[in-house]
Amino acid sequence: MAMISTKTNSLLELAQFWSQRLSPDFSLRDHEKYLYTPLDAISFGISPKEPWHRALGDVVFHNGYLAQGDVLGMEDAPAFLQEKYLSLRQKEDDFLCRYNLAYSPAFYYLPLRQNNSKITIADSERRHAVATSLLCYIPPGAEHYLEIHNMAQETRLSHCHIVVFLASGSKLQLLLIHELDEPSQSIVHLHFILSVESQAVVYDLQLSGKLSRTSIEADLEGERSFFSLNGLLLGRGEEHRDSTSLLIHRSSYSESKTLCLSLLNNKASSAITGNIVVEPRIREAKAHQLLRSLLLSDDAKAFCRPQLEIGSHEVNCSHGSSIGELDQEALYYLQSRGVSKEEARQLLLKAATAHLLQDLAPIFLPTTQERLNYYLKEVAYG
């Protein structure tokens, strides 16, 4: 396990600034602005008596994929990256990100030189809360496959903040898996900065846990940059899933695609917010968004906000959203051929997810396939 305690002086100052200003009394009210969801469904359970920052998190770097030597402290990052990172975090207005900034034990820098790497976020000591900060850098022209496995256990709240800089012409495929145990709650904040002709494809699989949330911010800064988000949210019991994305087209010819699907059984709920912003005077930007929810039980709830904010006329943007139940005819068809109701459901759910994951890199298949089958079955049976 790597534990490099590294904060640059300026980051340290910023962290101190926020640690003095943020009250350790973690209050839901403060959080309300950032979550569009039935707040009654969420409880962080952090009482003022147990300030969450006293317990700090760690990151497990997998030896198999990521060589120990590749994990560096922030101070080892090139000066221009440090500068960019600092300016980014100075502007942070998200309440949780500020907390993360103030209480992250270490700021890691991953240059991601090799072809693939895997990071597991876990809390080996079963602490109340975990805060993690990472900066990843994909060098020019490089192609990388990054897997982030969030495995918080008995954690009241895990907050992970990851910034990814994609240099010009680089490509990244990122697989993020939320696989938490029953009481755990986890929020992963991903911020992408895309340079000229860079591409980032993100697969966000939220499989289990009381609350999981992926919040994605992508700055399409370079011309012809491309960003794609594929989210699959599975919920059962009283779980809550949240996917929030803010894709900002800051350059001409940039393109983004968002595809999000939530499958909910029992009393589970999901909130999907997709926000696409096209800045003024941007030419030929393309943005497409499709948010879907399937409700499998009477008590499941789905909330969708597909939003477009278009400031330029030379664009081609569209969004669609649909919420409904499984196709009853297809269900009947399968049942009439001797497939049990649950199995039929499982089949149909699998079919619904196929489109979402069809371009997943083969390197990720060993991690995803079995897991997905297992959790789809769990959702289908409820």
Partner: protein, 480 residues
Amino acid sequence: MKEILDKVQEDYEAGFVTPVEQDILPKGLNEDIIREISRRKNEPEFLLKWRLAAYEAWKKMPEPKWAKVIYPPIDYQAISYFAAPKKKIKSLDELDPEIRATFERLGIPLKEQEVLAGVEGAPVAVDAVFDSVSVGTTFKEKLRELGIIFCSFSEAVANHPELVEQYLGSVVPVRDNYFAALNSAVFSDGSFCYIPKGVKCPMELSTYFRINAAGTGQFERTLIIADEDSYVSYLEGCTAPRRDENQLHAAVVELIAMKNAYIKYSTVQNWYPGDREGRGGVYNFVTKRGLCKGENSRISWTQVETGSAITWKYPSCILKGDNSIGEFYSVALTRNYQQADTGTKMIHLGKNTRSTIISKGISAGKSVNTYRGLVRISSKAQQARNFSRCDSLILGSEAKANTLPYLEVKNKSAVVEHEATTSKVSEEQLYYLRQRGLGEEEAVYLIVSGFCKEVFRNLPMEFAVEAQKLLSVSLEGAIG
């Protein structure tokens, strides 16, 4: 292209002022002003109490800031809340010729044998509201024969207080929102309509709102009740003089549809939009809501929004009765510095309820056009269906179009679908029309009216003609 832009004309035809002697209450808002408004209108005690309760609620409310519109703070003490022509009249024949001329110039007939805007067809009954008061209602007698009550709100308070007391505020309660609370406290007049059981209203009913006096706001209330098995088609139009100051218009419209009733409510909103530099114009902060109370009831909102400096308006349907239907068809055109944040709310409570939302936004110049819509399916709304389609067309490089839908589903049997697109006028379509000899402006107009066709189709004939005309005038010079 630049020449076309330079050609932009001040083409707001309704921007004139009528020189008529008026009785205006001093500026400011306090309990005494509200008592004075109530006293002048000889209102019963219950209404005064209702107004004062609304005022108390309003004082404690913060002004909403969530809409994507920017405007300087409004000084509510600098507005006069009541302005009425001095001459009191008993019948339409006594109407001040200046006022009659005003409405005639706007194409609104105040003589019963005339028809709207020169269109041949069925006659239209008009309730004309001039600043704070209703100056006349046509075809009252003919409608009364069928049991239909169509009159100004003040008359309804005087003659049918029991209906007013029963239904006023039942759809939009006084504490609903900031502007509805303000309206409830100071509303001065408006239209009232009651369609009795089994009656299909034989003509279109219409209200025409006109702001004339400077330094005032208009706060009117419309209440329409359609009893079982009845039908009514209601039209609403509005204009104001061209002025450099901003004027506030905060209205409330409540519709109630009982079992098997159908209310069709159409609006052509053409308040003064401000000049090319964004000076002046009306702030149109309106709360419109319909309640489908009985089974199989239906409420249909159709709106064409071309005016107002700022629009803040969400005509909504509460689908309470089983099998009830809510519809919303909207065209919102903004240009210069206009800002519109408009859309709808469809709240499904009953079983088998259905709603359709078709919204077309066109933004030109430096304007901002936002669609904001909510579709909520409650846990008891079995088999609810919703379809929404929101398209935006951007004309010009500095215009903005936002689409902000909110979908909330708590019942698995619901089917909710939402689609939206944002684009500019297709080069191909433009090229096709140009090579067939059409000028650029003409070609764009043709494409835009095709874009809005789905909505215009739902307007009553009289209004469809007016809306088309308004669209062409508004698009003039807005193409760049």
